[in-house]
Subunit: 291 residues, 2 copies
């Protein structure tokens, strides 16, 4: 079975759940709702929800307890894509194989669609079926992953790094915030549900290396893949003179760096003392992906 | 004592608290942090925090229990101003008497500053000193007030209403979402703390009329006040052919409509059976304001 097929059930599950949540939150038709649905229900790999579910699998937690977490994280991710694609940011016109939100609608609507998605992500997360004090922790983890030291902060550093040379340490700091924080939040939030809250543990460290490897592969694919396979314009990082791993260490060097972090993912998974089959397969899925 | 002076202590309190929170959340200097501080600590009337504190006063709740609520709401309000001012939205270059965030920094930074502010608003709100189940309710109220049926949804409807005639009912619907939802959330969140959760009560209805009156006055001032007094360009609504109360019912009609809703505010305050002196004064402050 190919990696993609292994997760078909989970992908279908989150797509259905996201659609239901959107209906629950807003039954009335409007331009804003349509733009949110356009961006949120456009498919995509759903790697963050898969990471949530695969972590549930390792800890014997029913998926039904983590659906709201998976959905909230994907809403946050989608909002970040919409805003990153804006003309004042990366100015991309293709995403997930379709026109980006500001092309399909307009810039103002795209800004508001992202804004609304962030709000409803917190509304959805607050519905997680667990104790209120656990929900408070989930909110704190997700908010931190999105804020000044998380995704938004990382994107700002990334924009500042355009057209100038940054060190490997700086690049890792940028991506730990921009991409890593949200991926790490996926496993940290499941850890709250199963009451494993030591963030220095192997699960958390696995997610950190997963995040780094994920970003490197993303950079590598931007150079090597064709636009059609990628679903977004290839070579767009280079066009913007972005700080990327291939720019910093060459294509070969970047691929070796990715493999190093994937290996560290497996090391921490092996130390989990849990059935980590799904997490293992998801890690391969990330390494092997062509888009 | 003038209305503005009555609330000087509360304004100072929230300004100090906001500054402290920003330091707590992000001690490291960065462009994004600077842009957030620039927008958040620029002064302003702080009407939403004042509404929170005045409601505390009526219910005998110490301000210290509601500081996080007041701060979170002001962060949300500030994020909405930053995004509303963007070139793709209202394209304003002046706010609170200073260049808008995207002028002082750049568009990308302004988008991200708003995004980060929304995230940290939830992070701050989750620190409210109360029971976890109350925090969950606070999160739900604020998220709803920001989302598809709240502020973001209202702003989208408002943009769609540019250059076309809307009915009074439609205009009220737009503003109930765009401005009213967040103002109503101020009192609803304090109601959670004091465990008065019947949203059909006089406090909630007071806030709804407060929101409508507030918006009408805002529209009226856009026509009558000078840019210098207003701290933002006057006449900007007309330039965009916005749907406003003065456009719909004339300046006199709009002023009468505002007075009607202020009267309803007082009616519901009188029915509260609480010492509503501060809420009463705040309502006068809204009616009498020249900017």
């Amino acid at each position: 079975m190919r990696a993609n097929e292994i997760f078909a059930a989970e992908q279908k599950r989150i797509n259905t759940f996201l659609s239901q949540q959107l209906d629950n939150l807003c039954s009335e038709q409007s331009t804003l709702r349509n733009s949110v649905a356009y961006a949120l229900l456009a498919g995509g790999k759903r790697i963050r929800p898969l990471l949530v579910y695969a972590t549930c699998d390792a800890y014997g937690l029913p998926y039904s307890q983590a659906d709201y977490i998976a959905a909230a994280i994907e809403m946050i991710h989608t909002y970040s894509l919409i805003h990153d694609d804006l003309p004042c940011m990366d100015d991309d016109n293709l995403r997930r194989g379709r026109p980006t939100c500001h092309i399909a609608f307009n810039e103002a609507t795209a800004v508001l669609a992202g804004d609304a998605l962030q709000a409803i992500a917190f509304e959805v997360l607050a519905q997680t079926p667990c104790q209120p004090k656990q929900i408070v922790k989930l909110i704190q983890i997700m908010a931190k992953a999105c804020g000044l030291n998380g995704m938004a902060g990382g994107q700002s550093l990334d924009l500042e790094a355009e057209n100038r040379q940054v060190s490997l340490a700086q690049l890792q700091k940028i991506h730990a915030a921009k991409t890593g924080a949200l991926l790490t939040a996926c496993v940290d939030m499941v850890a709250v549900l199963v009451k494993i809250e030591d963030q220095s543990d192997h699960l958390h460290q696995f997610a950190q290396h997963f995040g780094i490897a994920f970003q490197i592969i993303d950079d590598v694919l931007d150079v090597t893949a064709e636009t059609k396979t990628l679903g977004k314009p290839s070579g767009s990082d280079q066009g913007l003179n972005k700080s990327t791993y291939p720019n910093l260490m060459g294509l070969d060097g970047a691929q070796k760096e990715a493999k190093k972090h994937i290996k560290l993912c497996f090391k921490h998974l092996n130390n989990l003392s849990r059935n980590h089959e799904k997490l293992h397969k998801l890690t391969n899925f990330v390494l092997d992906r062509t888009h």
